[in-house]
Symmetry: C2
């Protein structure tokens, strides 16, 4: 029978809907660019933007510059159109960076039941912390158990990011659960941790029942 | 007797209070960093931040990293504190990026009286356009007469940024006015333009009277 002490969470698509956020932010950005003078069809420009993001990765800072470069834009309009896209992208992002329904309540309940909570996430440290703070969930996690790949020098699904987290938490693997939305999160089971898969559209309060089920060894 | 056709404006400290914005944003950022775990006194940390801004210029992207480096901060807390500072800086900035009282009304009146309006500003093109868009004044200016030093390859007080603007506007110097808050803006008079100095705390609607006075050759 398990006795669980730690529950670790992924951030993107686990604590908030990052897929929806990115899609909405990019759609709104394209609309704002067209309004600012870009002569393009919204759907076509959105598809172009998506292939730029795919090609240059999502952390590349000049997606909108590249998009403008794909069109025949007067030199005088370039900066205005790029600024319109970037501004609207950020506005949408900040507006939609809210926890999924039930997240804060569930984290609160888990804490109240005596579990310690951590984060295991891939990405850049300051960027991931910005999300934790904007989601208003920083109170639930000790900074020492917020494990970000940039600091950990390992990325999910690599085993060493999970063992690093366990070492920081002073927790044996079978007393810890990893909650995430991807196969790379489920890789935690290779080091002996329990895992819970969050499915799109599923209520976050389900997590509580799944933790109980693991706790009871079922 | 003058017959004025064009009125050009500076952006920072002319259309909005950038001095207040920067000070508030940095004060709030320091407070957020302390709340996130930085062991510092607010005033002292603010002074340190100001000297970092002065030393590395305001466009340098790692002010908050430098500030954290001046304190003895646990490695685990670094990214959290930097993210807290950057996030609060941006929140404050977006909240305070609003036109000074009377700006939009005055621009509207000037347009209605038949003047064409332009911008002559120092800075990076996308950043300055972001301000114009967030201030909701982009409708008043044609992109071709928004003259930004990065594109114009000249900076105020250099004469060529003013002559470039006049060339774009197809306007002789004595039919144009430059409105700004600094000596570098007043340098427009060296190419023969009229100038209006905006003074801190002065009502923006004063501009209208000053344009009339110039128009009447007084």
């Amino acid at each position: 029978m398990a006795r669980i002490k730690w529950v670790f969470f992924d951030i993107d698509n686990t604590l908030f809907d990052s897929q929806r956020l990115a899609a909405e932010a990019r759609k709104n950005a394209v609309r704002a660019m067209i309004k600012a003078g870009l002569k393009a069809k919204p759907n076509e420009a959105f598809e172009k933007l998506m292939s730029i993001v795919k090609r240059y990765t999502s952390n590349y800072p000049e997606h909108f510059d590249r998009l403008v470069a794909e069109y025949d834009v007067e030199k005088e309009l370039r900066a205005k159109i790029i600024a319109a896209g970037q501004g609207e992208y950020h506005n949408t992002k900040f507006r939609l960076l809210v926890p999924l329904e039930g997240v804060k309540e569930t984290l609160r309940k888990l804490k109240r039941r005596g579990y310690s909570l951590g984060i295991i996430t891939n990405g850049r440290a300051v960027k991931q912390w910005d999300k934790i703070i904007r989601l208003s969930v920083s109170e639930f996690f000790e900074p020492s158990t917020v494990i970000i790949s940039e600091d950990a020098k390992a990325e999910k699904p690599q085993e060493s990011i999970f063992t690093y987290a366990l070492w920081k938490a002073k927790c044996p693997p079978h007393e810890a659960i990893m909650v995430g939305d991807k196969e790379e999160d489920m890789a935690a089971k290779h080091v002996g941790m329990h895992v819970i898969m969050v499915r799109r559209g599923q209520s976050f309060s389900e997590i509580l029942k799944q933790v109980e089920r693991i706790e009871k060894g079922r």
